[in-house]
Subunit: 208 residues, 3 copies
């Protein structure tokens, strides 16, 4: 059943992408909570964090208009999630831990969907990997710059490395002809595991 | 006289857009004055503030090339205005008040023209509202980030809310079939009034 | 031999462009060294600095996809150069001097290639000049914002002025019908000389 399988493939990437937008929106809203913003500040910072990485990806790849203009679900979902966090943020025992883990989940999801979208559009492997990393990292960078904080991404923890592991795995498995569901899930699992271990065990690369 | 009316419609949006670029350029130049920049710094910061929001709007909507490449009046006007401010900034009794009010005017103008342009290109209502807010807010955000200050937009004052009121009014009146001149002026008036009251009376939303 | 000459012309701009990407990548890696980042941080900051200005140029001009997606050499070169700097940065006697001079070289190169690309695409003179300045300045601005520093570009030293001199010279010589090799080299030499004198002699414009 190739048509059904094709539907599943597109479906998996879409579901992961919406999930990524929502967890990054949560991470943006948690920063808004730390900065004691008003509900509109929650919506603005959450939405920008959620859709920022994918927006840059689409601009650079020449996808027009960008994904959230083509399908406004991608715009409405982070607006609703961010606003809900104005009340829901109190449910997190630690806002900083919530931020770090939502950010890790979003990073792993976007490293996969960013690289997938680039491959679908015929980009070469190096560009697909860069696109996975960029999609994963850019939303969080805007979030931190707007909030006046040093970007989490550039801290000495392993972050871009984890996104590189996810995007690289996806591109290699694609080259080996592995099916799209399997390679998406394998790449996501690796990116998230690397980042989770780095957070839990304080892993870092040697620095200058 | 439909053709004349059509001309008027495009004319109103164009005039508002050039006005918006110029008042945002003034706000950028006033920040350059606070930072004691040289004339080139005035031009750079003023021009980026003036055209930044519309540039992002056009990129996201897939308008190519962006408006100031198609029509260089939009580039030359803020360059001239910003440079004139190198001498003219002294005319402002208070540079901070000048900045806040030029910024308010630019915000109200761009919330209308940003949403209008998106509707003209066939974007759905939620995207048109987001585009109005983004056009209104982005120039000021770049201005403040480049100047190393916390973005005015994210302060606890009502700002994005005012842009939301303007863009939302425009989209609703468009849906109700109200003529373009009337809806543009009504939306502008509402956005500016909300922001002006917030500035004058220190209004703010409840914060986290 | 028009075809050969044409090849030379494209060849000169390409070589200057790759050089510009690499020296800006070095400047980004030197900031990574000052911030004591890990190898991935070197790659990220160096690559973003190297390709950031040209990416914005291509987005604004409507070139799709952007240059480093079309030709991945522009992506791979700064990745390799930035990573090599993780060990090579120690070769610089003064990392700050290295940064300032690599940045000056990149600025002069990109002021020429940015304006050339805009002219090739039929942009009017004012837009071509703006594009030269923007390509030259934007990579360094992102570098400094990401590193949490005040952008070097907006300091009171002559910087944007030098890029303006380079891009303006290129556009004027183009208008006068001067050959592309000569105008590219003359414009580069002027931009670099103005910046070098400003650095060496502490030149600055009068400030507000």
């Amino acid at each position: 059943m190739p048509p059904l399988s094709l539907l599943d493939i597109a479906g998996i990437v879409t579901v992961l992408d919406v999930l990524g937008v929502c967890v990054f929106a949560i991470s943006g809203a948690l920063v808004a909570a730390r900065k004691e913003m008003d509900p509109i500040g929650f919506i603005a910072l959450g939405t920008v964090t959620g859709i920022g990485g994918g927006t840059l990806r689409d601009l650079v790849l020449g996808v027009q208009p960008v994904f959230w203009v083509s399908d406004s679900l991608y715009l409405i979902a982070p607006v609703v999630v961010s606003l809900a966090m104005f009340w829901g943020a109190r449910l997190f025992h630690s806002r900083y831990a919530g931020l770090v883990w939502a950010d890790a989940l979003g990073m792993a999801l976007f490293s996969v969907t960013g690289a997938s979208k680039a491959l679908t559009l015929g980009a070469p492997p190096s560009v697909a990997i860069a696109m996975g990393i960029m999609t994963a990292a850019f939303g969080g960078i805007i979030r931190d710059v707007l909030a006046g904080e040093s970007p989490l991404v550039l801290h000495k923890e392993i972050y871009v490395t984890a996104a590189f592991a996810g995007a690289g795995t996806l591109v290699i498995l694609h080259g080996l002809g592995v099916g799209q569901e399997v390679r998406a899930l394998a790449a996501f699992a690796l990116a998230f595991t690397v980042r989770a271990l780095a957070i839990a065990r304080g892993w870092s690369l040697p620095h200058y």
